[in-house]
Point group: D2
Chain length 450, copies 4
Amino acid sequence: MIKHNCGIFGVYNSYRALDLTYYGLFQLQHRGEEGFGVVGVTDTGIFERKSEGLLSELTKNGYAFSFPSSRAAIGHVRYSTTGSPSTANLQPFIVQFRNDFLAIAHNGNFVNYKRLKEKLVKKGTVFHSTTDTEIFLHLVAQSMESDLLAGIMYAMSIVEGAYSILLLTKDAIYAVRDPYGFRPLEMGELEGAIIFSSETCALSFLGANHIRPVKPGEIIRVSRSGVDSFKLENKNPARFCIFELIYFARPDSIVDGFNVYEFRKKSGMMLGKLAPATADIVVAVPDSGSIAAIAYAQTVGIPFEIGLVRSYYVGRSFIKPRLHERESDVVFKYGPVNSVIKGKRIVLVDDSLVRGTTSRRLIEIIRTAGAKEIHMRVASPPLKYPCFYGIDIPTRHELIASSLDLNEIKGFINVDSLSYLPLEYLINSDENRFCTACFSGEYPIEVREK
Amino acid sequence: MIKHNCGIFGVYNSYRALDLTYYGLFQLQHRGEEGFGVVGVTDTGIFERKSEGLLSELTKNGYAFSFPSSRAAIGHVRYSTTGSPSTANLQPFIVQFRNDFLAIAHNGNFVNYKRLKEKLVKKGTVFHSTTDTEIFLHLVAQSMESDLLAGIMYAMSIVEGAYSILLLTKDAIYAVRDPYGFRPLEMGELEGAIIFSSETCALSFLGANHIRPVKPGEIIRVSRSGVDSFKLENKNPARFCIFELIYFARPDSIVDGFNVYEFRKKSGMMLGKLAPATADIVVAVPDSGSIAAIAYAQTVGIPFEIGLVRSYYVGRSFIKPRLHERESDVVFKYGPVNSVIKGKRIVLVDDSLVRGTTSRRLIEIIRTAGAKEIHMRVASPPLKYPCFYGIDIPTRHELIASSLDLNEIKGFINVDSLSYLPLEYLINSDENRFCTACFSGEYPIEVREK
Amino acid sequence: MIKHNCGIFGVYNSYRALDLTYYGLFQLQHRGEEGFGVVGVTDTGIFERKSEGLLSELTKNGYAFSFPSSRAAIGHVRYSTTGSPSTANLQPFIVQFRNDFLAIAHNGNFVNYKRLKEKLVKKGTVFHSTTDTEIFLHLVAQSMESDLLAGIMYAMSIVEGAYSILLLTKDAIYAVRDPYGFRPLEMGELEGAIIFSSETCALSFLGANHIRPVKPGEIIRVSRSGVDSFKLENKNPARFCIFELIYFARPDSIVDGFNVYEFRKKSGMMLGKLAPATADIVVAVPDSGSIAAIAYAQTVGIPFEIGLVRSYYVGRSFIKPRLHERESDVVFKYGPVNSVIKGKRIVLVDDSLVRGTTSRRLIEIIRTAGAKEIHMRVASPPLKYPCFYGIDIPTRHELIASSLDLNEIKGFINVDSLSYLPLEYLINSDENRFCTACFSGEYPIEVREK
Amino acid sequence: MIKHNCGIFGVYNSYRALDLTYYGLFQLQHRGEEGFGVVGVTDTGIFERKSEGLLSELTKNGYAFSFPSSRAAIGHVRYSTTGSPSTANLQPFIVQFRNDFLAIAHNGNFVNYKRLKEKLVKKGTVFHSTTDTEIFLHLVAQSMESDLLAGIMYAMSIVEGAYSILLLTKDAIYAVRDPYGFRPLEMGELEGAIIFSSETCALSFLGANHIRPVKPGEIIRVSRSGVDSFKLENKNPARFCIFELIYFARPDSIVDGFNVYEFRKKSGMMLGKLAPATADIVVAVPDSGSIAAIAYAQTVGIPFEIGLVRSYYVGRSFIKPRLHERESDVVFKYGPVNSVIKGKRIVLVDDSLVRGTTSRRLIEIIRTAGAKEIHMRVASPPLKYPCFYGIDIPTRHELIASSLDLNEIKGFINVDSLSYLPLEYLINSDENRFCTACFSGEYPIEVREK
């Protein structure tokens, strides 16, 4: 599976800032299951809590737990992209900055990380972690600018890549989005408090009003003097990550102006128009393919059925002692409904096809359950290029569409027919709005370090 | 929510008996999320591992873990019905029996528990737990019968109620089902090993062949001398729990001869025929209402849409500091897809209606998201009576249908129309096969202790 | 090292019964370091807390902890004598007894355990543990006596061996001591509360008055109707374990009428009179040999010096990766003070000599530190026989004095001279008061099971 | 109690470097009980293990544990002086330094911490902790010197205060001691490996030869090219902390050329000559006063007796629910031997007197046990001034000798007579060798930040 790349959340001006951040992160948990952290400003100082695993870990031991009152807070859920998901790597990071503290939560990836680090090291900069996030802090600190805002602008002028960042100080929250706007970051309001969240699903959960996205290249500062917006000069067009819409974001979210549910539904309809199939039922790979599958079924007029039952108990790290081949992860996760599948011609719909190995195994399960024919329909184009802007897409040679053509893939995963949704139909009229590098190879920012 | 009442699993004659039991329990996790246990016979003695929480807990600490080789094993996943879910109450229980050990895993409930315990206590029996399961062990031990089989039969002749039981000794597994057959217990085969499981989904997962259910009143002994079946004389007809089909069992399971998926689909179709609605879309309460909703939608010819997104990260014990009313558990679990709901006339389908409070809150969420009309359709009859055979259905006065009539319920949950599926359409021609006490009040076994 | 065999503590009639039990056990920790448990009667039921390890474990996680109010409580610290020190084996055990509960804490060992268990099993008794303590409970329960006291007396008439037992019910505490009185059990009083403790050091710590020992064969019941004493008819003379005085009990305790400090001091003086040595300094093996060493030094007129520093950080279970021979446990525990030892003729005093391996290694350390001569003085007789009454003394062939004579031992541990304190001088005029089986082989109770 | 201020240990050139460091730290545990850490260079990178609590924590969970092979390693045991003893504050710290890593373990305290930090912050330095140790790393990194050695020298020229430091790189260990030599650091050799340790007791334990102390102002580098010594120009005389000899160091250690045992013995003898008493017995406050007490007893010719038994089970963080006044920490730790104390005139000897509250409570216990007279003798001068060089001595107003005169102290702790050992007799002819600021108020380094 493709891994997400973190979610961030922040609240300014509510005595429940820590509570709301904790609740908000619950709705962003799908963006990061490996660990979480919250940092809040309380009357007596900084409150910090981090843990590996899911947010529900917080209450595992059965002890009563409550957050202190706090007027501002930020939080982070993370997937580790490198190294072990140790507590030391969990965000938000807190550093001593000037005579105060500075906390940072970061979603994204700097592409000129290595060169920047080299330069800083030559200047005598001591690094405490191997994360790229730390670079940003050092640039801000060394900018010698009189205030934090200027320091942030200086850092933004030097780092390249994808980043949505929340910074927390004693007095303010700064919400920052890179000039291309690769990663989402939304702003909302609840009873006088300003809230930032990677996705709107966390805003609606809290009953907060959605105001607007933080714009590409924008810095929003929320402090006692109100909400101020600053903008980096920016000649490049925005490039929102299309994979957020295809797979990452929750279907009840709106991100960067796009309605995730409608995007997926339209993809499924388009796929139905372009690649119908003669079959008895349409089955989704749950849950990622469900919306597209239902839309596909409605478009082609074939009944949608739940042919695969997904288990939500299989976490990322469960043990597999003496596991036989037929008991792979895929089998743990998906149970075929034999009576639905047996003797049927099936259209199987998924949102994307990455390595092909999961699909292959899943299709084998469906065949064993008695399917007569299997027609695979993928609601996005062939995935051919790695991502350097914050998504953990495998290297080129692991991407099946990068080395095999359509016919070979069809053979590899062993289906009776296979269709993808072409890029032009996916992006439609919004062609200049998206980063589609993983499909097209056209990278908005040149990547010299890989 | 109605709570399940445990799942049991056992393997005889495989060196991977413990591994397979662990894998099997993963597929039965929906029957018990509060704790689990496995016990296996190894070359050097008994291996035992129990823990509160989900099976995935086993690997939380990051240490490598592997089960020893074992020729036979049984396991249990549980919901606590009384008291705290402490490790001491986790099954399988292991006792010293004669010169050997005896382990027991139990799904169900004895209805004459109190009287039996009183009698045993008078005889000087020492009880180590407050569970009814222990009664069975004492009856077996005190039967004075020359062998375990006779002891089990003696115990079965005395206890009344619902039980599916697996017993493990050094040499054999005994699978036992009460004469009414309230709870499921299925037998399968994999490469010479005999497997018992509450549901077949765990058998198909392992690639095992499904042989047949353990019959009501039957004892199956698997030992070196093969598979032997013994039967208690039994004049009563079998009474399989209809709620297993409505809600408990996984849709990819077959239990006691019934196909769960087909049962739910048929219920949804019947509901569509009996209670159509004039509406724009059909929305399910995920996941329990999904199958019925899709079938309903197909029957009435209204499009099925995913109007509610369910979060799977919200466990039973997450903390809720300073939670405002609008941030209840329901809100944590279900996110409305605004663009789907807004301005629409909606048919909302669920499998059952228990207290009415969850539905009420959920309907409020849907109304806030902009629904024009909401028509509730419930794929089972009004739930009016508590269960004494192993399901944690609330007491009468908590069941909304027990105190309010249809019109009052409609008002309470605030829908534009409300229909249930009548009992005669649910059970169809199988009317004598089921225990329907929770709907009809007709209890197969008289219950004097409550 | 010889292991202790548990400590017990109980309080009746104080709202701080659980707190006081916890504090009392802290002073009995030397009698059992592998685990502990407390059970108390509260207004709402039974409170129970058990844990492996030291009492200080209770507060390890940093969470605030407090015991509920409780009117009566008992507690236990334990050394495991068999099996792993798992939580399941920690005492007090709680069982369902009649319509109430019964908790038991036991210090000692039944010698006719196997035969009794066999008989009970034949009657259909189910055992939940492999401990001998459980036997006592079944005998009480099966006695069919109308009240608990009679049941206890019945059980005492059947079990043979060493036992000091505390039983807790909703209404009373029963303190029981076997007819020989092998293990200590003392009674005290504090502000109207009655307290039982293995040793008086826990009484003085609480500021409680020491009343008297529970007598051999006595049952003391403390209930609302006061303190009642019952006595089993008993023709045998009492036989208090002399090893409690030599090594087990804390020097600030009085047990069964004996002052531990004075006993050890007298042993050291006697040893000085019988076995003086020409030497420069007297050094103790700390802490077990310290009192005898100081008395020896005063008697012979040679200065006492601290030649060995003991580390208290070395617990029972510390890891020893790639440990070289010279880095054995002994070395971890004792650091030689080179400037004290170098060039000196040393008298080394210890309380007893068990396997000889520790002494051998310790003497090697002292020689390496530059001692010119080493004269070993042991403040008890040669240890030749195993104990069946609750002390974990190794089997005969592991006891060095059982296979080697004085001269051979002297050679094995490599000292310039070696003297023991003969039995007659140790017990003095109290010869019929003690069990001296480990020295003399005269077992007060015949032992058929070994 | 006065708290220690960390211990450090390092090994170069042994495949068992991590194991030996772990063993060595065990012998330095008295210098820091709140947490520990080890870092080693292995073939595949850096190995790191840190934990709160004692070293024995490492094996608490029962899992087998072993360190990897490593050619060099350093370790640290700590007392927290500020903030909570969280894992984040445990040393050794590891940072990214140039293209490699750098680990640091530090014992001591920088007195110009605040000014230095302010300067660095102005330059844009980001601090990750609130410890003074981090200052040293930034100074080294920002020195712009071509090699690490020059960077260390630069840092030493800027920081002021007390420090013994071990630095570990991929290729070398650097052992550094401040120009005054406040804190100890000893060098040893074992089978070709070079070892550094705060005290020699850890060297003798391993069977290592003691070579010499690292000298004040010296940097010793151990690398493939051997052992090289560098020296900062240093006009100031060395000032070794006298409290290391009075209380901190283990009596079987030699530190900075001083034999700890002999120092304490001489103090006790001198105290006997200067302040004899008419009494029946001499009793030590164990263990800190034991050596002085025995020497005192020998000098004045009064018998030494063990009148107080110390419990080693009472850790720093045990809970005290509903603790009555008479059950204070002191009582938990010391049990009076009534038969020794009753009716006696007692000389009570301790190493030092800090707040007076512990002594007061202890003397109350001894009085309650029946002492007729108590004569307190303290083997060091009145403690009047706080320490800024790494020892956690309370502020002035908490030090009893700072606000009360001898007579008032005598009244406060309620003794019949009280004598201290005057400073000139304590330091003897070595008067220019020691830092005695806590007694004399003469601080070797001016302290402007407090």
